[in-house]
């Protein structure tokens, strides 16, 4: 199918921890703070539940950007989960950068339950970044795209 005339609508996956960032997203919603519909949120108990496999799988299946949000360091509901997540994601993102995947396609932000504004601002800026990067041709398995 020819893609050239199709308007670019990015697919963006956001992993949000249940205790802070998912609640922050809820607060953004109840405060009617908009961000583009391209962002789809997956609820996980903690940022430390996010396996690098999930992120690569998203890219494999055609995601253009993946963002992970968790509690601020020091505020993890499970005390230490986001510390482990921070190291894992730092190394993973560094590896993706190393193999030539545009660095802007992955991001980690710490968003508390009280930060509806930050959640919405983060998503707006991330989506903007993905629009500027365009379609993810490097990491997507082309055959999986419709």
């Amino acid at each position: 199918m020819p893609l050239e005339n199709k308007e670019f609508k990015p697919k963006i996956v956001a992993f949000c921890c249940n205790w802070c960032s998912y609640a922050g997203a809820d607060l953004a919603g109840s405060s009617r703070l908009t961000y583009p519909a391209d962002v789809k949120i997956i609820r996980v108990p903690c940022s430390c539940r996010v396996n690098p496999m999930f992120i690569l799988r998203a890219f494999e299946k055609g995601a253009d950007g993946v963002i992970m949000c968790g509690c601020h360091p020091g505020d993890c509901h499970y005390s230490t989960g986001n510390y482990y997540a921070r190291r894992r994601m730092t190394l993973l993102f560094s590896m993706l950068d190393y193999i030539g995947v545009e660095n802007g396609r992955t991001r980690v932000e710490w968003v508390s339950a009280a930060e509806g504004v930050k959640f919405s601002e983060t998503m707006n800026s991330f989506v903007e970044k993905i629009y500027s990067l365009g379609e993810n041709v490097r990491l997507g398995d082309l055959r999986c795209k419709s």
Partner: protein, 662 residues
Amino acid sequence: MQRIGVFVCHCGSNIAATVDVSKVAEMSLMEPGVVHAEDYQYMCSEAGQAKIAAAIKEKNLTGIVVCSCSPRMHEATFRKAAERAGLNPYMVEIANIREHCSWIHKDMEEATKKAVILMRAAVAKVNLNAPLQAGESRVTKRALVIGGGIAGIQTALDIADAGYEVDIVEKTPSIGGRMSQLDKTFPTLDCSACILTPKMVEASAHEKITIYTYSEVEKVSGFVGDFTVDIRKKARSVDMNKCTGCGVCQEKCPSKKAPSEFNRGLNTRSAIYTPFAQAIPNVPVIDREACIKFKTGKCGICSKVCQAGAVDYEQKDEIISEKYGAIVVATGFDTINLDKYDEYAYSQSKDVITSLELERVMNAAGPTHGHLERLSDGKAPKEIVFIQCVGSRCSDDRGKPYCSKICCMYTAKHAMLIRDKYPDVNVTVFYIDVRTPGKNFDEFYRRAVEQYGVNYIKGQVGKVIPQPDGKLLVQGSDLLDNRQILKEADMVVLATAIEPNPDVRKIATMLTASIDTNNFLTEAHAKLRPVESPTAGIFLSGVCQGPKDIPETVAQAGAAAVKAIGLLAKDKLMTNPCTAQSDILLCNGCSTCENVCPYGAITYEDKEVNDHGIRETRRVAVVNNALCQGCGACTVACPSGAMDLQGFSNRQILAEVDAICR
């Protein structure tokens, strides 16, 4: 194959105005496993829940997806509804099409598309759900209250009166908190000590209450119903059982230069001291930094004069480990540091003071014995200027973005009390807004203006300049008359913003309770669960949750107590079944997961396995489901994928990813 029902909620017009709900329902029928779909006005209503129950029974559903508001709102509601209809409650998934969709998108087509995708992700997940059984855990029928101010005292009294043991941990040598430092209270002008002291005495005399003063929480482990807390009892250097509280040691102590914390550093105290006369317990502590005996090894006067032989220089910190079912945080507040507000000359002039310092100046037990006088020269002031919102409602990073809430009222109180006692003193208040919502509050403020002639000026003060003659030149503006004001004052009082006690962040981290950017503890729900932390078993009392005055604090303290009692009254709690599980055949026994588990829930055992006919003994990970809280750290640490999380399994999350990226 699952038999899934999809239920799409209109939420009145909250969802239906932006999302084509019938389209979402219709589209869901094309998803694998979906055998039933419907939409309804309010799924959470009784009628809505009845529809779910009916469909579960009629269509033999094995799983349901509710497309509605956030699972944080109604997941529990729908799980219960499913359970009543005979479905395992963990076969329910929520697609959040309100907070994450209809409320943030305007375009109907776009929002509907997104809602469909969120529905698909939830259906994909529920296809892989398995019934889970909640376990049980015990409840220790004892509560811990952190902080011994009015909030902590009230909470402790209420819990104790319900028949449960309560421990209060207070950092300073006495309970009483900020309220004990206040002179009078608004809007009735009661003497603060007169209403607080009886509560303090009641708490200390209560047979169910144990008070640990001069103590701090050191470590918290465990979870709701079964916390284990280490409390550090700092060395008091005085034996609490022997001391009679006669006070001779304090009189005779030759070191009297330590700034008095109770009087906000406006005067000094002895090295062995009780913070104030009505302190509970009435047992002094030795401030080892100020004590000559501890600094030089010589002195020992207090020990010599103590008839009871209570002074013990060798005393050491003691760690007490205790189990609790519930923990109430009541850590209170302090005023902010004014270093960044140099324009008000707080650090340059002794006659520029904070409102809390004024409380001490006006108090008979304070540094001036209750006489209103300038702290620089002891002269009686004739002209006093109050400056409101110092550090409150601040848009830059010097102060706080929030309203400290109590300042308008206490300034009206101060102004009124001064005008009442010293009618010849002029009082001027510079304010941005006067905020007096509350029972009898506005009447109180109007009395200050109308009956006591307090001069209120709407406008901000730009600068306070100390003059060579000792006066203070106040430069301000009057926004209503649109003019600049230059006013000479003898004293300037700053309505300094309040902030949560700086220690609260450390405590929140230990409790894994959420905290916001201003260091206020976050409530589980801003409106509907205002005294609970999102962390189960942790309750919030007083200003640690947000600025409030005494009546609000006492009301909230009681509410927190009721929530704690509600927990302690249970014998058993249902535990979250979304815990980690290790696949015995895939486990390498490498201990990586054990190293990242914050709960010590993973141990290793040698187990007999039958791996496709090969029988052998292997070292494998075993998860203690009572300890596991379901964070999932182990699942990612595990290289072989042996460790997985029930309810959030690898395959479930991947199915969601696939559905979203489809």
